[in-house]
């Protein structure tokens, strides 16, 4: 049950001492109620008050760290209700039963995909290594080490506690998550995860069983968990993933307040198109680690793009870096076009210019991440701001062309811009990006 600010205020010392950084106890209480501050920021709370509050203000879904990445911590089912907090991770599926050549090939293939998109590095973050008793501990440890050597976080999937123990003896430093706790082995697995300080993955073949196991683990003091969706069918995998998130966020069931692992490689073996479709489904709906059989550019380009979109904060626009973007092999003599730094505008405009094939220097100015008309209305995309950008970045000496194409929607800026940039010929471009191809071809 979420507490109201006033309920929290009643438990504070009401001294307005400012030790918590807030001007008054009331302000502090309101922030705690919103989830902006944690209750322990107040050093004067009585232990009884703290105990009451800690349980009530605990977030519905825990934040679990895997290596440098954070998972979970979500508070809403849909992004427009507030925002999603931690993006899902992608993992590569490996099995200790594969031969070395096949494993090396898989890892090398995944290594090829490593690029940047709107300031974010895009690469598979984890490797999911399954080891079964017939593979042996030595083989398991060797595959774990191979996977860890690529600089990725390793999730070890092994349901045999003795085997997992032997693998960890040899390779504990290379593992971040031990997945494989179930109703039968949870005590032994819990001991291993605690000993080696690993996140413990709980198998979920059935919602009720998994719920019981998590309750036992929590009672034993382990709250550093992740739920491994081990459903056999696509339908169950989706049903479990949605119901777990829904129980945690909508029904206040903290036992299910953990992130999930969904292995789509297991749900659609060898069918990489289906795996991409499923990875997309679970990116939009509540998968926290999504395990795929491969990640080539074909899957990576749409999936990383989708993830970047879904996990943007609706309150903060996505921005690209201001600067000169030479497109279609543009050089200093190529025509210049200017627009704003809103990521969507950049992608659409640069895409259309690329389709035209006309070499163009696209200049992105700092417009606060707004679209053309919004930025213009806010005074962030004006003749003054464009001229200032040209001056600060010394565009005149970097580019010899003196033709500048202005977005059609801000044609009104033409006269003023001609005054501020007298050497330049200002051309009013089309209103919509889709008309750019024709415009540039005709202009040439």
């Amino acid at each position: 049950m979420a507490l109201k600010g006033l309920d929290i205020f009643k438990l504070t010392p009401k001294k307005n001492c400012k030790d918590c950084g807030c001007p008054t106890c009331m302000a502090f209480s309101m922030k705690v109620a919103q989830g902006a501050l944690s209750i322990d920021k107040c050093p004067h709370m009585s232990p009884e008050a703290l105990a009451t509050l800690a349980a009530a203000t605990e977030p519905p879904m825990k934040t679990i760290s895997i290596g440098e990445h954070k998972l979970g911590g979500e508070t809403v089912m849909l992004r427009h209700e507030k925002t999603f907090v931690n993006k899902n991770l992608f993992a590569l599926d490996l099995c200790a039963g594969m031969d070395d050549a096949a494993i090396d090939a898989k890892l090398a293939e995944a290594d090829k995909v490593d690029y940047e998109r709107i300031g974010e590095r895009m690469r598979v973050e984890c490797v999911y290594v399954s080891v079964k008793p017939e593979h042996g501990a030595e083989r398991g440890a060797a595959v774990v080490k191979k996977a860890a050597a690529t600089g990725r976080d390793v999730i070890l999937h092994c349901c045999d506690a003795a085997l997992a123990g032997d693998i960890l003896k040899a390779a504990a430093a290379d593992v971040k998550v031990l997945a494989g706790a179930n109703a039968d082995n949870w005590e032994a697995m819990n001991a291993l995860a605690t000993e080696h300080n690993l996140v413990l993955g709980v198998c979920c073949k059935d919602l009720s069983d998994a719920h019981d196991t998590i309750e036992k683990l929590e009672a034993a003091g382990n709250k550093n968990l992740i739920i491994n969706i081990c459903a056999e069918s696509i339908k169950d995998a989706f049903s479990f993933t949605v119901q777990i998130r829904r129980a945690a966020l909508k029904d206040g069931d903290r036992t299910f307040g953990y992130p999930t692992i969904v292995n789509v490689a297991r749900l659609a073996p060898e069918d990489y198109t289906m795996q991409a479709a499923l990875a997309s489904l679970f990116t939009v709906r509540y998968g926290s680690v999504i395990v795929l059989g491969r990640m080539t550019y074909a899957e990576a380009l749409p999936l990383f793009g989708l993830r970047q979109n879904i996990f943007t904060d609706p309150q903060k626009p996505m921005k690209v870096e201001p600067g000169i973007y030479p497109l279609n092999g543009a050089d200093e003599n190529s025509v210049v076009a200017v627009t704003v730094d809103f990521a969507l505008t950049y992608f659409i405009v640069s895409g259309e210019i690329e389709r035209s094939g006309v070499p163009t220097n696209l200049i992105i100015t700092d417009a606060g991440g707004y679209s053309v008309l919004t930025a213009w209305a806010a005074g962030k995309f004006s003749a003054g701001s464009i001229a200032k950008f040209f001056e600060e970045n010394d565009i005149a000496s970097k580019i010899k062309s003196r033709t500048l194409i202005l977005p059609g929607k801000v044609a009104v800026l033409k006269g003023e811009l001609e005054n501020k940039l007298p050497d330049w010929k200002i051309v009013v471009g089309p209103n919509e990006a889709i008309q750019l191809v024709r415009f540039l071809k005709d202009y040439k």
């Binding site: 998994a210 309750e215 036992t255 069918d271 479709a277 997309s280 550019y297 895409g351």
Partner: protein
């Protein structure tokens, strides 16, 4: 404490809209759960998958599998027959790329002749989409609606600028179905439905296209618009947002860099065809997860995959 599932059904549901005639007619909508949440309640009509062809004989040399699929099919009707046979396809979308005044500028009469041939060549429901030019679309839709009268065709789409002419010439004059297209904004979507119903078009004859984008290209707006429209339709029982949603995915995804960059220009990206298939498959899956009741795809492999995914979730 054992876990007890709490199925989440709504008292409201999405309108049911039938496309096509005869055995192969497809019913869109009807859902009273969140998208793809078939574990909450069995699906009355699962989301539908359509396959897109164009009126022009496009150069498919960059896409060997697609070229092989359409091999020998020279006319739109021949292509429609092959498309209709694609595994998982429940309707065919004929897109009049050639009607674009900036391109071939095919006349409305020519388009109507093609539409008639295509409608007669297949027994799957037909969806006709235009060239994105509001005046020209209104012209060709009127001619095609007459030529395909009685086939219960869906026209994609009427927009704010031309909804009166398109609505009157398709749904009102010939009893066809009409799409209502708005630009990724729940209020615009609702407004268009309101004015179209005021025109006298039955809500059951309207299918929404609330806008689309390729994954990575501002898809967050598409996802949130779909989320919000479904929430308004089901939780708040807003009957001006209960029309089923059809998203023309391929029209967006085949135009982005990931799908059009040839392999020789970007060797590290690998096969162009695989990229194009993955881009539309990933985008379609995300659209369905967020709320589309139907998607339109171009590649038979994407159609098969998405249809199989929907079937696996039932």
């Amino acid at each position: 404490m054992p876990f007890v599932s709490k199925p989440r059904k709504f008292n409201a549901s999405i309108n049911e809209t039938v496309l096509g005639v005869g055995d192969k007619a497809v019913t869109l909508g009807g859902l009273n759960t969140l998208p793809l949440h078939f574990f909450d309640a069995p699906a009355k009509n699962p989301p539908a998958v359509g396959i897109e062809i164009t009126d022009v004989d496009a150069d498919l040399s960059a896409f060997p599998e697609l070229a092989a699929f359409y091999e020998g099919a020279k006319t739109p009707a021949e292509r429609a027959k092959k498309a209709a046979a694609a595994e998982g396809a429940q309707f065919v979308c004929l897109r009049f790329e050639g009607a674009d005044p900036g391109g071939l500028n095919r006349s409305a009469a020519e388009c109507a002749a093609i539409a008639k041939e295509v409608a007669e060549a297949i027994d799957l429901p037909l969806v006709i989409s235009g060239c994105k030019n509001v005046e020209k679309d209104a012209e060709i839709f009127a001619a095609c609606a007459e030529a395909t009268s009685g086939k219960n065709v869906l026209f994609l789409s009427a927009r704010e600028e031309n909804y009166k002419t398109v609505g009157a010439s398709t749904a009102l004059a010939y009893g066809q179905k009409v799409g209502a297209e708005s630009a990724v904004d729940i209020n615009l979507a609702k407004q268009l439905n309101v004015v179209m119903t005021q025109l006298g078009i039955a809500p059951g004859s309207i299918v929404m296209n609330v806008g689309s984008a390729a994954a990575g290209y501002g898809f967050e707006y598409v996802a949130s618009t779909l989320d919000r429209v479904k929430a308004a339709a089901l939780e708040q029982n807003d009957n001006m947002l209960q029309m089923p949603i059809m998203t023309p995915v391929s029209a967006e995804t085949w135009g982005v860099k990931e799908s059009i960059m040839p392999e020789q220009d970007m060797p590290e990206w690998g096969s162009q065809e695989e990229r194009a298939v993955a881009m539309e498959t990933v985008t379609a899956s995300a659209c369905l997860a967020s709320g589309s009741d139907a998607v339109i795809l171009r590649h038979p492999k994407s159609v098969k995959t998405i249809a199989a995914m929907i079937a696996a979730l039932l």
